[in-house]
Amino acid sequence: MNCEIFKQNIAELFDESVASGGEQSAIQREMLEHIETCADCKALYEEFCYTMDVLTPSVNAEPSVEFSRRLSERIEKATPKRKSLHRVLYRVGGAVASVAAMFLVVINLLPATPAKASSGYFGKAAAKLNQAQSLFMRISMRTMPAENFDFLDPTAEFVEHTVQRVGEAWRVDKGDRVMFGDGGQWWQWVESWNNGWTGYGVPSVLVDLMVNPQKLMQFEKSLAEADLGVIYETRNEGGLTFVTVTSPALGDWLESNYMYMSSILESDSRREYAFDRRTKELIAASVYVLYGTEEEKVLTVDQIIYNAPIMSADVARLPEGIEFVEPLNANSGARFVGISARQAAVKVFEAMKIWDVEVLREGIPFVDVERLRDDYEGVTILEVKDAVRSGLYVGYFVPMKVQYRNGKSEELMVAMRNDTPSGGWIVDGGI
């Protein structure tokens, strides 16, 4: 041991094992021996000890006796707010309205007022995003990796999404669920389920906004130019301009709050955007949902690369061994045309009772109905209420009470929509 090695390794003498009088390692022993004979290193060691003393609180901040009781009470009370995951997973089709419908909600709400100052930032940022030849983004959101892209769960961990857009093609990957579109058709799959779906348009509001953030900027711009009780704050810091938008949940809440907080726009939220002051580009964003006096960060745009070198071939890559089905086809809902959502829901459950596969396949296109058979065959309807609208959901919810053949009964909110090629109703979720 020489002084140089001693100095390099001085941290070793302050590890927890030495402090607590535990067993010493070879180097620790050698170092302690060294200071017996070397005054310089001993002095250094003592100064380190003194510094450590200064930095170690003498009064330990112990929790109060009530703390552990309060903690266990909180844990006890914390039951999942959502219905079981298994139900939500059936909402593969993307249950919320399109971006276009979302605009209508905003535009219809109230007459426009003189443009707020912040609308200028959104307008310029939208133009920059529009001009980009390609975009690469990293976005994190509290959700589940296999769950549909719009699904928000403020209590879940963050799941990273990578978003790529080049020309007409785009791809969003959230770990287990991936979606790719070529400008017309989309393909979506969940690797762990070995399931794939395909269709046309963009079947998710959030994916549409991730792939086309200029639409989000335009949306914020139009929101800023209307007067909806939305609060704007702007501040400049370190070459960036931050614009914060605090807005109430968008959608229809007169009949039911069932969808409240199920997506970002259906939550009271605070959205924070950072723009480059010089280039006017959007460079980051955070979204918080607000509940009561609490708030929770649920989404962050961590990185946006404009004109990133993205290969179209990588964006368009499809997985091997997954068969893609087109759930929404001309037959979907064909036997459910010209009736109400409530009547359609009843018809589906009556078909479940006798397990009429042909009717079920039309009425529940997003799910392989065989997967439902164990649970739902022989089910009887105990009660049906009038269908209600909630939030931004494009269809209706039919409140039902049903009894399964094992005698158990359950209350359901069956999501029904008829924006299908046939115009007939299909079950979109809630079972």
Partner: protein, 161 residues
């Protein structure tokens, strides 16, 4: 909630609740914030669907998660105008409060990455190996950050003497 999940979380709260409280207390300052952060952590665990059975070292896992929550809270605090200090009702709290404050003032002379390692070692009595696990960096990095930080403060304290 599955019963076994509840049991695991309850057990963790029992074993590590006090450690976690101390961690949050040092980070956030006030008693109320510290309690709140720890409760928040366990509520999230109780309601999330992550697989707890596969967590290899619960203590590090919990501290790591709590650290993230504290960072979020501190960021939020700087964005809003929440007052940083709250009135303490008992004498010992005042003492702990002022000591933590005094230490934090000293630590401000160091880069965050060094002061964090030092406070984890001193106030939270974590070993270098645990700190490495929590921060997901090599133990050698932890040790060198620690040594750099202490050495800088040592020189400062020497100058003051």
């Amino acid at each position: 909630m599955k019963p076994e999940r509840n049991t695991i979380i309850g057990r963790w709260a029992e074993l590590y609740g006090a450690d976690l409280y101390r961690f949050a207390r040092f980070r956030l300052g006030s008693v109320a914030d510290a309690e709140d952060a720890v409760q928040d952590l366990f509520v999230r665990l109780a309601t999330s669907s992550s697989d707890l059975g596969s967590v290899a070292s619960p203590r590090s896992f919990l501290i790591r998660s709590l650290r993230n929550l504290c960072i979020d809270r501190l960021k939020r605090r700087t964005l809003s105008t929440t007052p940083l200090t709250e009135k303490m009702d008992i004498e010992q709290e005042c003492e702990a409060e002022s000591e933590i404050e005094r230490i934090k003032v000293l630590m401000r002379h160091l880069p965050e990455e060094q002061s964090e390692v030092i406070s984890m070692r001193t106030a939270q009595n974590l070993s270098f190996a645990e700190i490495a696990e929590i921060l997901d960096i090599p133990t050698t990095t932890v040790k060198s950050r620690f040594a750099y930080g202490i050495d800088k403060l040592r020189k400062m304290l020497n100058d003051k003497k």
